[in-house]
């Protein structure tokens, strides 16, 4: 049975055990994963579309009585597969901390203020060209307990379904030029430098709206069709 989805390309993903990220020690399986064929169970996956989201859910600055504090930003890009094809009508979910680096989450004890006008959750569905777009505020950096003086670079969590169980991806989008990159074990768990850079958005003046918001572009690439021998020809 041939593979519908690529298997090669795993170098993009971090390993399950990455000792610098301490909690991987007791949470990464010790036994090797068992390789199985891609059956109907894996090449199918949840189908969610425009009827499952509301347009206002893509604007995280309009979910409360007032506007949240912070630097208003537009985050947009294309959802693609490895062949460069757009992934249309696909659910994108995001979550993040506020401009001060505090999550609304009950477990977050960072002594930075909550913002009564910011929850930090959004969702949208990609359009026919695979484009998603959110309006939010730039999240702050925040400390965490992994090691002494550990700080996470500013990031937005992204959840993508794609067209199958195998295209499922949860990742984080970072902002260009963050001085915390060299010190963050989660960012650096992706050991391939080029793959690591694919998690970093770019500032874009054309996306930036005068007198209103800065624009960032970030394309996301999901597992795509398995490579055929011709694909590697003459490259």
């Amino acid at each position: 049975m041939h593979d519908v989805y690529s298997r090669a390309g795993d170098t993009a993903d971090p390993p399950l055990l990455y000792p610098d990220y301490r909690s991987t020690a007791v949470r990464s399986p010790k036994q090797p994963l068992i390789t199985i064929p891609q059956t109907i169970s894996e090449i199918t996956g949840p189908v969610y579309g425009h009827s499952d989201v509301r347009p206002d859910e893509a604007d995280l600055t309009k979910q409360h009585a007032g506007e949240p504090l912070g630097e208003r930003i537009i985050v947009t890009g294309r959802l693609l597969d490895e062949a460069g094809r757009p992934v249309p009508n696909s659910l994108v979910e995001i979550w993040q901390c506020n401009a001060a680096g505090r999550y609304i989450h009950a477990v977050d004890q960072h002594p930075a203020p909550l913002d009564p006008n910011f929850t930090g959750a959004g969702r949208c569905v990609t359009d026919a060209n695979g484009v998603y777009r959110f309006v939010t505020i730039k999240p702050g950096a925040y400390p965490w307990g992994n090691h002494l003086n550990a700080w996470r670079p500013a990031h937005i969590h992204f959840s993508l379904l794609g067209p199958s169980f195998l295209t499922r991806l949860v990742t984080q989008m970072y902002f260009p030029g963050d001085p915390l990159f060299p010190f963050d074990p989660i960012y650096n768990s992706v050991t391939d430098a080029k793959a690591r850079e694919r998690m970093v958005s770019r500032f874009d003046m054309d996306t930036t709206k005068p007198e209103w918001a800065l624009g960032y572009i970030w394309d996301i690439v999901l597992r795509g069709p398995g490579a055929t021998p011709l694909d590697n020809d003459n490259d």
């Binding site: 993903d13 959750a121 989660i186």
Partner: protein, 198 residues
């Protein structure tokens, strides 16, 4: 023409605050997903699966999330790649559940039928599970099979699992209540659950 393949976006952990984005009801955000995959009118054998997620130290994991993907009672997936009509239009086959403070979870659904397998074989009834948590840099994926199902013996995926580890993939009926099954996930240790790569 040469196809220029694009590099994949790497996976990153969901972190400890996944609930805000993925199961956000407790933060006042409308939920799209639920641990209840089948309403009472759904054709099929209604079941409830309960279990816990445990780490390598044997500690319960209160910050994990499971995603459930399954066929309907007739073995059909609600997806174009399956292509067969479903027993019910309301069945989407997908659910999410976050673990509670005791690492526990439940799923209420119908027992899936036998989905198509490689070649002409059928697969034994199974539920596909994606596991996410702080400390998991990428999703883990496993399957829940049903102990005692006669189709298990011929299942092409179970056959790839060393015999001594197959029991980690079997939900067991709870004798205290009809329709209740138990399935724990162990990330490490002597009962480490089998995880797959496809």
């Amino acid at each position: 023409m040469t196809d220029k393949r694009a590099g994949r976006t790497p996976s990153q952990t969901v972190g400890p605050y996944l609930h805000i984005g993925l199961v956000p009801g407790m933060y006042g955000v409308r939920e799209v997903f639920s641990p209840v995959l089948a309403d009472a009118g759904m054709p099929g054998t209604h079941i409830r699966i309960e279990g816990r997620v445990l780490d390598g130290a044997g500690a319960v994991m209160p910050d994990a999330m499971l995603e459930i993907w399954q066929a309907d009672a007739q073995g059909r997936y609600a997806h174009p790649a399956d292509g067969r009509p479903l027993a019910s239009n309301s069945f989407r086959g997908f659910g999410r559940v976050a673990t509670d403070k005791d690492g526990g979870f439940f799923v209420a659904t119908v027992k899936p039928g036998q989905a198509k397998g490689p070649g002409d074989k059928l697969q034994a009834p199974h539920i596909n599970v994606g596991l996410f948590a702080r400390g998991l840099l990428k999703r883990l994926f496993t399957r829940i099979y049903f102990d005692g199902d006669p189709a298990n013996a011929a299942d092409p995926i179970l056959a790839l699992v060393p015999a001594e580890r197959r029991a980690t993939l079997l939900a067991r009926p709870d004798p205290t209540k009809a329709g209740l099954w138990r399935f724990d996930i162990h990330l490490q240790g002597p009962q480490e659950t089998v995880f797959f790569d496809a």
